[in-house]
């Protein structure tokens, strides 16, 4: 297995410590856990937390800091964080203003967050949640709904900025839901990652194949085909987004998220195609984020997210943030 790691069974802990060591002024690790919180917790404002499986670094904890998350709660590789760890994070950051949990829409994540929130409420902690389901490749009518993909990062930015304004819990929840309602993502994968515990690839793809719509854990997509050029790939992907949500004449943020094994060169080439296509559709781009924000270890591929802005969302998106990954 060609990974620069140590024993797979300690990987999540090592990754957590490695991240905290890189930004000790911003991050603090809770004892006996991989939960990371802000060094300087707010005491009078709504707290925002997010958790997801390990293997998606820098998510969740690379976005902990001023203007974004108060706590990042990782699970084991590609597994939801456990209810006790989520509760640990909630209890550490809670104050009388309450806690908003952002949840990427996966069955395990939703169940575990709900359980932790029930336990928090029994301790009289005001807690609310917003479920993010931005993946247009998942059918709407499936009972579990759509998956949460890299667009979650944009909702963290919005919710964190609204919380910094001193808004109450219901307002922060409302604005996060509003941002999520105008958020769509589609992914494409070209190479699997290797699961550290067993050394197996996360999925199989032919030598020349790619798959549009594949999920962050190798969940099936909607179109498996031979590798296409960046322009054609982007066109296929954006067509799926625009069929699902009308962004015409809207102002949007574009997030081009590398899955871990796809380098900046390709993401920049993709970005030119995204800009060209959106301009032809009369969609105005306020800002573009390009990089590894929510990866699948070393998986090849990327996702494109669009988030609609209104003047208030734009101000929140532009607001200051000081996290390991996003700084404004």
């Amino acid at each position: 297995m060609k990974k620069f790691i140590n024993e797979p069974e300690n990987l999540e802990a090592e990754v957590t410590r490695g991240l905290v060591l890189s930004q000790p002024g911003i991050l603090r690790q809770l004892p006996d856990s991989n939960v990371i919180v802000r060094q300087k917790l707010k005491t009078d404002r709504v707290s925002v937390v997010f958790g997801c499986g390990s293997g998606h670094e820098p998510a969740p904890s690379g976005f902990v800091g001023y203007g974004m998350l108060d706590a990042g709660i990782p699970g084991k590789i590609f597994s939801s964080p456990t209810p006790d760890m989520i509760l640990k994070g909630i209890k550490e950051v809670q104050n009388q203003a309450g806690v908003l949990c952002l949840i990427a829409n996966y069955t395990g994540d939703v169940l575990n967050f709900r359980m932790a929130m029930d336990l928090a409420q029994m301790e009289n902690i005001p807690v609310e949640s917003v479920i993010i389901a931005d993946d247009v490749a998942t059918l709407k009518n499936k009972s579990v709904g759509r998956r949460g993909l890299a667009g979650v990062v944009l909702v963290m930015k919005i919710a964190g900025a609204e919380a910094e304004l001193g808004s109450d819990l219901y307002r922060v929840k409302e604005i996060a839901e509003w941002a999520a309602s105008g958020l769509r993502t589609i992914g494409v994968a070209s190479r699997p990652c290797v699961i550290p515990a067993d050394g197996d690839p996360s999925f199989e793809l032919g030598e020349q194949e790619m798959e549009i719509g594949m999920g962050l854990h190798g969940e099936p997509g909607v179109l498996r085909c031979n590798m296409m050029g960046a322009r054609e790939t982007v066109q296929q992907m954006l067509e799926m987004i625009l069929l699902d949500c009308n962004y015409e004449k809207s102002e949007v943020v574009v997030l081009i998220n590398g899955l871990g094994g796809t380098p900046p060169m390709e993401l920049y080439a993709v970005n030119e195609c995204v800009h060209q296509y959106l301009q032809e559709q009369d969609i105005v781009i306020h800002d573009t984020m390009i990089g590894n924000y929510m990866t699948s270890m070393e998986m090849g591929g990327f996702s494109i997210s669009l988030m609609r802005l209104d003047p208030h969302l734009k101000a929140l998106y532009d607001a200051a943030a000081v996290t390991p990954i996003i700084r404004r």
Copy 2:
């Protein structure tokens, strides 16, 4: 070839436009070229420029902006920028305060920069250069000297910050040379990248092999061996750095640079090992940068750089910067 690109012959231009489109407030592309300069050029301070082959994105132009570079000049894939493009960059950013060229030590880069600087001097543009040769894996006594690796990014930060202070050309050059004198880097590779023009891998490595000391273009390293864990790999690499330069009791910046195909998870795991090892050696870490700063397209692997700080270098390192990649 599993790359999300269009025609290989237009790749450098597409990548340049994709980067500029992502940060139109910071970057401006010069007509008929892939040279990128700051949107708001300084008119009374020393300008700092850097150029290198394409394929190393976000270098060179991801570091253009306040507090770092005034111009980024890419060549073709893995090829030095041509003298006419370097001259174009120099002429665009020059003012009476002069221009400092940072050059990674490769024969082609040094020759082409020297030619461009000669031409600039004939036009009465004050121009100086600093050659950065941070790779401890290259033998000191080879006639061409050591290669320049990702440590160049740290010298950009130092030189750019000194230039923002309003120092004269000789002072900016002196401080960049001083920073470079305490800078060492060592790389390791686990997977080759594919050269777009011919679809060939940049080098061959066995299924289970890695190579310590390999260069950014697949130049031979010093130790080819079976994949080791992160701890052992880091120990081997740091031993080579510390044999070459004594950092004991020094304060340093650590840069862990992904080569493009190695995800944040592994870089964080590596970082914990780096911190543990340096602490044992009585070396104080002021700050740690982790990410894709100077890649080799999708090559697997990473490099570790250490740069010694004194109080002035520390202030320059910490000073504000507003570029697509580095923000303070």
